[in-house]
Symmetry: C2
Subunit: 375 residues, 2 copies
């Protein structure tokens, strides 16, 4: 990746929406903001727009850097930019922070106009459907009646899938990477342990920790440590850390002995320093609830009949959070429904996190697929 | 299993040891108790003794029931008894609670004679080597100069492996089930998240919670919930719980939505009600540190040269905590060293926990092996 291929300095934008958003949980957001970024130029017929949906801890900052912080590289910067697989010379790319998030879109940290205090525990439950509804409105605001593609990895892939069903005429290509059509019991189990760590942290204060001037650091830290175990593969951990000792010997203490422990502590501490606990809780519940086949007695093929898009699906052999068989569930449901699907199963050692890396085959697959999208 | 095949009512015994035990950590236990149970009768030549080593949350209560509690069935009662695979008509079977435990052997809950208070955080680190040393002394006390077999599952299997190396002439058969020659980085990672949950619980009080009259319930609960995810397989969870809802619909709350959550809460609450947090910490560290190849530059084959026993090794295809490839590491190290090894890889759906169940092939393998042990 050369510097010349970076989109360069980018600036987030904010869109305010006054029309209330009815949520799947039964609640209503009376008004809300969405923070987003765009890269490239929307063409005259608005046919070249690609929406990039973020995963659990991601944001609208997909590519480029901020002028005031040269370290602030977007989370999918290796993918999005001039000459990159998602080429901003061809496409107009949008990244948007989900509702309930903690990066600028309306969420639990935002001020609840009814109380003039942070929403905290009163912020309504949001779902993948709600995010997609709110992003569809952003599309309208930007003059996009149909997206060339909606792309996402992990939870972002679920949003892309949701788009193809609930806004079938507004998306030509659904691109779903390292995702699953729904969480397994084991996926839900990991989420629940992470949530319990936060909910039981005395500094959580029932979700209203903002007013107490504290953060449930221990809970967030545990949640992130656990998360990182599921993002990596057993093999990747073995290669990266193995049983390497931090101090060259067994110390017989409860501090750090092994490098893997040091890595998890570092990741946990970093995360607890910037991420919002309520956002973590809400987002994991949105993951748990997501199930397009829910209203179809669990029959995914029937659920997918509504789709009109073409599909790109990618999975990674070492991803044990959403392993290839989960992508194949979706693949077969789509194929049995006669849909046009490109599927690639990639051997990339990094586990679930592979979707963020620039593995050569993976990026070649994305580059080829995007190059064949007509705009 | 018929009632007539149960060993029936059993009574724990206690052995006190006055000779100080030098520990691998550098510490010394000046004196200690071991609580144990025996089933069957030691023969005249003391050649029919089988030591059963317990795993993380197990105890000396391997088989039978206590007279005052008909629900108190031993944790491996399906295996040990008259006519059972480990037949007490032939063998004299010993179960012993590990040092550092919380079921009667000297541990952090015990009174430290130097302070007249519970040991708490001052209890020294114990390792697999230390357990084996202390159990060897129990063997001497009982007049057993050589065990017919030492058997264990999971952490118990590591103790059995340790016996074959450090007391090579005192064990004729090392029987190692659902174990690994050492923990992987991922194994250590899970242990560390569980430990952090306990260490960061405000009720932990640096390990001296006994004097505060509290228990770090939240930490123990999280540790056990996480543990249970690793004891089951993804498939077993899918079959047992899937995405079944507790209340028939998504409740949009942080209480229990899915059956799998309810199961984990139940297991976590139960465990926190009886298990000691310091024991949990010490035992997971003993697991992390265990590595017979540590003094051999990681070369397991060289480490195993000392062994004189015959081996029985069993693994389960759905065990992702210690998957079959971890057992095969040991198998190949032994085979390259010319040792006599029986290895069986079993298709049992229950994941790591399979070693506790009475799968027909599994029990047939154990029965056949035990029946061929000469006493």
């Amino acid at each position: 990746m050369t510097t010349s291929a970076s989109i360069g300095i980018v600036t987030p934008q904010r869109a305010h929406f006054d029309t209330p958003l009815a949520l799947k949980s039964g609640g209503v957001l009376p008004a809300y903001d969405l923070v987003f970024e765009t890269y490239g130029t929307l063409n005259a017929t608005a046919s070249n727009a690609v929406l990039v949906c973020h995963a659990l801890s991601g944001s609208h900052h997909v590519a480029g850097i901020y002028a005031d912080d040269p370290k602030s590289v977007g989370w999918w910067d290796n993918l999005v930019g001039p000459g990159k697989p998602l080429d901003t010379n061809k496409f107009f790319v949008i990244g948007v922070n989900n509702l309930g998030g903690c990066y600028g879109s309306t969420g639990p940290k935002s001020i609840n106009p009814a109380t003039d205090k942070p929403w905290g525990a009163d912020f309504p439950f949001v779902t993948v459907d709600d995010w997609v509804d709110s992003h569809a409105r952003l599309g309208e605001r930007l003059g996009i009646s149909q997206f060339a593609a909606v792309l996402g990895g992990s939870l972002g892939g679920m949003q892309a899938l949701d788009w193809t069903l609930r806004y079938a005429d507004r998306v030509r290509h659904g691109m779903i990477v390292a995702a699953a059509p729904k969480l397994s019991a084991e996926n839900i189990a990991f989420n629940e342990v992470a949530r319990q760590a936060i909910l039981r942290d005395p500094d959580f204060h029932g979700g209203n920790y903002y007013e107490h001037g504290v953060v449930p650091v221990s809970g967030l830290r545990l949640a992130r440590m656990l998360g990182h175990i599921t993002y990596l593969s057993d093999d990747a951990m073995a290669q990266k850390f193995g049983r390497r000792l931090r101090h060259g010997e067994h110390k017989f203490h409860f501090g750090v002995d092994f490098e893997i422990e040091s890595y998890l502590h570092y990741q946990g501490d970093k995360f607890a320093g910037f991420f919002d606990a309520n956002t973590y809780l809400l987002t994991t519940k949105a993951l748990d609830y997501f199930d397009p086949a829910y209203d179809y007695d669990g029959n995914l093929q029937e659920a997918m009949v509504r789709a009109r898009a073409k599909f790109f699906i990618a999975s990674f052999t070492t991803d044990w959070r959403f392993p290839p068989e989960r992508s194949r569930e979706l693949l077969f449901a789509l194929m049995h429904g006669g849909r046009d699907v490109a599927y690639v199963e990639l051997e990339c050692a990094a586990g679930h996190d592979s979707f963020l890396l620039d593995d050569a085959h993976y990026h070649a697959a994305l580059r080829a697929y995007f190059s064949n999208i007509e705009v």
